[in-house]
Symmetry: C2
């Protein structure tokens, strides 16, 4: 079964080696991992003249449409939330009605992570709600990220796996990913 | 025509008044704005026992399914990218194959915004590519946000409107939103 591997893993220095590693974990669980970096079989000839950014996006959307499920690396990326491209893809696959799984190398809940990111700008009002320096509410549901992400994963029949790993191995530790791949394999076999 | 109003506008202190204001702009353009804060007509009785975060998500997904298009407030939120919930919803609506429009009160391109966010941690390598302190690539396509977002908007037949507004009016200025609503009305009439 084909599984799309969403995540900022495409941004690491050795991105193709990283993709191969993720795929090897998938293969151990009987899954065929599909990386955003993969060529698209039968890519329409007309796409060669499309600007690179749009061509990448079209290809990723086409990859997702051909996959039975999605695994998202939701490790926080340049802020309290996951990488925006990854979050887009979680939404896209949920829109297609297919199972979405997530994993993250941060086990800290979203609320605490957001407050840590904001530092002294985060304050608690008389109503007990935490807000940032612009008065914008901080979600407090004990979830792993914005509620749309957590709920989409659960609602789709997926699951979310987190691990608390040292800062230095945030983009290399694959223990949570391995548990996630095993769960996807069980789900798709069921 | 019903249009879903995605955005961190739900987090402002007077969120219901904000939603009413956005809807009044929509109405001027012949559109019925649907806010994530709206009750869902005919909400299944069983949802009353679902935990609040999941109920909100189910309701928002149902709202989107009943809308002809989506307008996303992509103003950067706690980092270089848009709010994660909003980005999820852009992906969801794109997955449903419907037009997605965006607006932002930052006119600074994503690449420059990301470099500013990272500060001295952003460095340019011998290959000319900019990376963050963890070696993760910084997208450099001259877009408004992660390429999946910009491309989904264009690919769906939508459009993106940006404005450069003072920091203090980031969450109140509606000039870009108004231009966006006008474009949605033209698109849905066409």
């Amino acid at each position: 079964m084909r599984v799309y591997l969403a995540g900022p893993d495409v941004f690491v220095p050795a991105a193709h080696a990283r993709a191969a590693l993720l795929k090897s974990v998938c293969a151990r669980h009987g899954l065929q991992g599909v990386s955003p970096l993969d060529e698209l079989d039968g890519e329409p000839a007309g796409w060669s003249s499309v600007p690179e950014a749009r061509r990448i996006a079209l290809r990723n959307e086409a990859h997702m449409a051909r996959c039975a499920a999605l695994i998202a690396n939701l490790t926080p990326f340049r802020g309290p939330s996951a990488d925006a491209g990854t979050v887009f893809e979680v939404g896209y696959m949920r829109g297609l009605g297919r199972p979405v799984f997530g994993w993250s190398n941060s086990a800290e809940p979203f609320t605490e992570r957001t407050r840590a990111f904001l530092g002294i700008a985060a304050t608690c009002g008389p109503d007990g709600a935490w807000r940032d320096g612009e008065g914008m509410l901080i979600e407090a549901f004990g979830l792993a990220d914005n509620l749309m992400i957590d709920a989409a994963i659960l609602g789709s029949g997926g699951a979310l796996f987190t691990a608390s790993v040292p800062e230095a191995s945030r983009w290399t530790d694959l223990a949570a990913f391995e548990r996630c791949a095993a769960a996807v394999a069980r789900k798709l076999a069921g």
